[in-house]
């Protein structure tokens, strides 16, 4: 198991497998570890970073040759909670301030959502917002102030009944009013699955366009958040991608979120808008105050490159950006990063055009590998671009398990896993 640890070395054993503190001890004494240990040590460091929360150690992170470890200092009487807070697996990278939409304001993701909803309710007198706890502002503050501004008959709470919420929303939409339903967490959307798939998606089709519920938009917080465990971290976009008749959209930033949400609300099809909850506060950008639209089903090449195409959506886009810079720095590989934005219907042309140029494709998402949306992209790209591919398409995704509680750092497709997969593709 390794040499016993001295008190001033890795003191945190919270949740860590037995070998981890021992590894940390060795790592702490031997800074010159080979790159081969990098991924494990980095994970160890990050896990210790996580688990150090609650110990009386001051967390000191050493950076060397791209490696990231944690070395705990001797205990002080009172630790600083902020330093002990877990390290996120990504760094949000804001886009430059948009010039073409007028005056902008610094907003985080939930404020951008509030702004979009505010614009919607102002412009469309039939628009209503409903869901669990939306009246006081919502558990993520996305609807703060709207009830006071627009009245309690336009922003109201529902009881705890997701199936009822969506069914009810479909009913409102069928009469022509704009229904914006909130499901409190994407993990809770499953009681409403039947309503979405069997009713909302098929209404226009089955009535021969006599009726439709196109003015329904369902919003839900989505994705991992660091401590969400099984039921506050899921990314269910793949379940809905299998359902013709609806649109599924995932933004990567506040500016994108507002534009995409407004497009969803105006779109003539029922839309599901997943909001990466880890970005609600972490993502801050300059966002236009006036309404604007970002078109759906158009992927965006946020960084051009020539050797590998990286495709992701939501939070994972920021991970991919880091992977791209790591690849450039360490391997001299130029990556093209694409934010898919709309999962259904997805922009095949942009992705295929990119793969034809680069010859390599890596897709990444937090949702489990099997049946995840990466499999759909992979299948289509190999059909369309078979002769252009230099290497098999790589998918770096969550494992095929329920989203774990304590093992989240091991589960998520972090930049090291993506970098590793990219390297294998380059060397194929």
């Amino acid at each position: 198991m390794g040499p016993p640890l001295r008190p001033n070395q890795c003191r945190s054993r919270l949740g860590a497998p037995p070998s981890l503190p021992a590894v940390c001890g060795r790592v702490a004494r031997n800074p010159g570890l080979q790159v081969g240990m990098a991924a494990f040590a980095a994970t160890a460091g990050r896990l210790l970073g996580l688990r150090a929360a609650g110990t009386e150690g001051r967390l000191l992170r050493l950076r060397g040759a791209g490696l990231q470890w944690a070395l705990l200092q001797p205990a002080s009487a009172t630790g600083d909670a902020a330093q002990r807070r877990q390290v996120a697996h990504f760094t949000f990278q804001p886009d430059p301030e948009p010039q073409e939409y007028g005056q902008t304001q610094k907003m985080n993701l939930f404020q951008a959502i509030t702004s979009a909803l505010d614009n919607s309710l102002a412009k469309d007198p039939t628009a209503v917002i409903f869901g669990e706890d939306v009246a006081f502002g919502g558990v993520f503050r996305c609807t703060v102030g709207l009830r006071d501004k627009y009245g309690k008959d336009r922003v109201f709470n529902t009881p705890l009944c997701e199936q009822g919420i969506v069914g009810f929303g479909i009913g409102i939409a069928v009469t022509g009013a704009t229904a914006i339903a909130e499901i409190q967490f994407a993990d809770y959307i499953f009681p409403a699955f039947d309503q979405i798939v069997n009713e909302a998606a098929k209404y226009r089709y089955r009535s021969g366009d006599l009726f439709n519920c196109g003015s329904l938009t369902i919003r839900a917080p989505w994705g991992c958040v660091g401590h969400g465990a099984l039921y506050h971290s899921q990314s269910p976009e793949a379940f809905f991608a299998h359902c013709p008749g609806i649109k599924v959209v995932v933004p990567r930033s506040p500016f994108q979120a507002k534009g995409l949400l407004l497009s969803c609300i105006e779109d003539k099809n029922p839309c599901i808008f997943f909001e990466p909850k880890i970005l609600y506060r972490a993502a801050v950008e300059q966002v236009p105050v006036e309404p604007y639209h970002i078109p759906l089903s158009q992927a965006e090449v946020i960084q051009e490159g020539s050797d590998v195409t990286l495709v992701a959506w939501g939070t994972q886009v920021h991970v991919m950006r880091e992977v791209a810079s790591m690849a450039q720095e360490k391997l001299g590989v130029s990556c093209e990063v694409i934010d898919l934005k709309t999962i259904l219907p997805w922009d095949m042309d942009t992705v295929c055009k990119s793969v034809i140029k680069t010859g390599r494709l890596l897709i990444s998402h937090e949702a489990p590998l099997t049946g995840g949306f990466a499999s759909e992209i992979s299948s289509t790209v190999q059909e369309e671009c078979f002769l252009n591919l230099e290497a098999p398409i790589s998918r770096v995704c969550g494992y095929d398990t329920p989203f774990p509680h304590i093992f989240e750092p091991f589960y998520i497709p972090d930049k090291w896993k993506c970098y590793d997969a990219l390297r294998k593709m380059i060397n194929y």
Binding site: G54, P159, Y231, I406
Partner: protein
């Protein structure tokens, strides 16, 4: 870290092993038992309800007191640990609702079954797990009852099916367990708990229908603590008479802050189910002092005065203590000694210096 956890659990769980009679109180003769009057339950589709008087023995009284105090202490400790970020994720505490978990357990056998939602630490304890296992699970350690993989919301034990995160999803499961009880023919019942918020979920009504149709030995229990997260019952439910919501299922409304009332009602309900008459519904009117979870201060949708009032007038531990002291089942000093044992003053000092 390991030392800290051992200290905590030793304090909290070690007490359960000491027999009550070991408490030394010099030259004082206590009564062996006492009869108490308890509140009459409101009934729905029932001719008679549980008895309005009950006998509490000294031994049982001390046992309930110790269990409730342990649950209370455990929840408060979990609160502390969460604020120190030793417990992460979600943590839903049930202090204030101790009479429900201890009272329900007192009314059933260990071979009966129980399933509940996420406010489950108290039930995990009363169903037989040690405080050490519960705290280990909360802090994500392998020694936890779910090997650290479940956390606060997913604790399981023998005949205790969790610990369920999705609101209302556990109720059809409970009906299924009741079906298995009936099928196995061992005279067991299943207690299926849910909250006032979950009472508005569609699958609850589906479970009611199936249980009544097939006469399953299922006791549906609505733990009504007046708030579904931050929404008061009046704002969420068209009918707040949760004991009547089973419609064709008979129901009773129970004072969930009085452990004797809960115990008698549970005995009554269990006897009803065991006699093959089908399901029955119990509404326990109770209260939680903490917010919905640790990220909810619990005061934005209710006043501090309200919380204070419940604490001073209806606290379950206080009610039991008063009853026992006033009827000479125990002395104040004796109960205080139990408090001290559970709290373990000296050990907590050591604990603080480690963390």
């Amino acid at each position: 870290m390991r030392k800290m956890l051992a200290a905590v659990s030793r304090v909290l769980s070690g007490v359960a092993q000491k027999p009550a009679s070991r408490v030394l109180v010099a030259s004082r003769n206590f009564a062996n038992d006492a009869t108490f009057e308890i509140k009459k339950c409101d009934l729905h589709r029932l001719e008679e309800g549980p008895p309005v008087t009950t006998v509490l023995t000294r031994e049982d009284g001390l046992k309930y007191y110790r269990m409730m105090q342990t649950v209370r202490r455990m929840e408060l400790k979990a609160d502390q640990l969460y604020k120190q970020k030793i417990i992460r994720g979600f943590c839903h505490l049930c202090d204030g609702q101790e009479a429900c978990c201890v009272g329900l357990e007192a009314g059933i056998n260990p071979t009966d079954h129980l399933i509940t939602a996420y406010r489950a630490h108290g039930f995990t304890f009363t169903r037989g797990l040690s405080v050490r296992e519960i705290l280990a699970e909360l802090t994500g350690r392998r020694g936890g009852c779910a090997k650290g993989k479940g956390g606060s919301m997913h604790m399981y034990a023998k005949n205790f099916y969790g610990g369920n995160g999705i609101v209302g999803a556990q109720v059809p499961l409970g009906a299924g367990i009741a079906l298995a009880c009936k099928y196995n023919g061992k005279d067991e019942v299943c207690l299926t708990l849910y909250g006032d918020g979950a009472a508005n979920q569609g699958q609850i009504f589906e479970a009611y229908n199936m249980a009544a149709l097939w006469k399953l030995p299922c006791i549906f229990i609505c733990e009504n603590n007046r708030y579904g997260m931050g929404t008061s019952v009046e704002r969420a439910a068209a009918s707040t008479d949760y004991y009547k919501r089973g419609d064709f299922i008979p129901g009773l409304r129970v004072d969930g802050m009085d452990i004797l009332c809960v115990r008698e009602a549970t005995r009554f309900a269990a006897a009803y189910c065991r006699s093959g008459k089908g399901p029955i519904l119990m509404e326990l009117q109770t209260y939680r002092y903490h917010g919905h979870s640790m990220s909810d201060p619990g005061v934005s949708y209710r006043t501090r005065e309200e919380i204070q009032e419940v604490r001073s007038k209806s606290d379950p531990i206080m009610l039991l203590k008063d009853r026992m002291v006033n009827s000479n089942l125990a002395s104040v000093e004796e109960l205080k000694e139990i408090d001290v044992e559970v709290r373990g003053a000296n050990q907590w000092i050591k604990f603080k210096s480690i963390s």
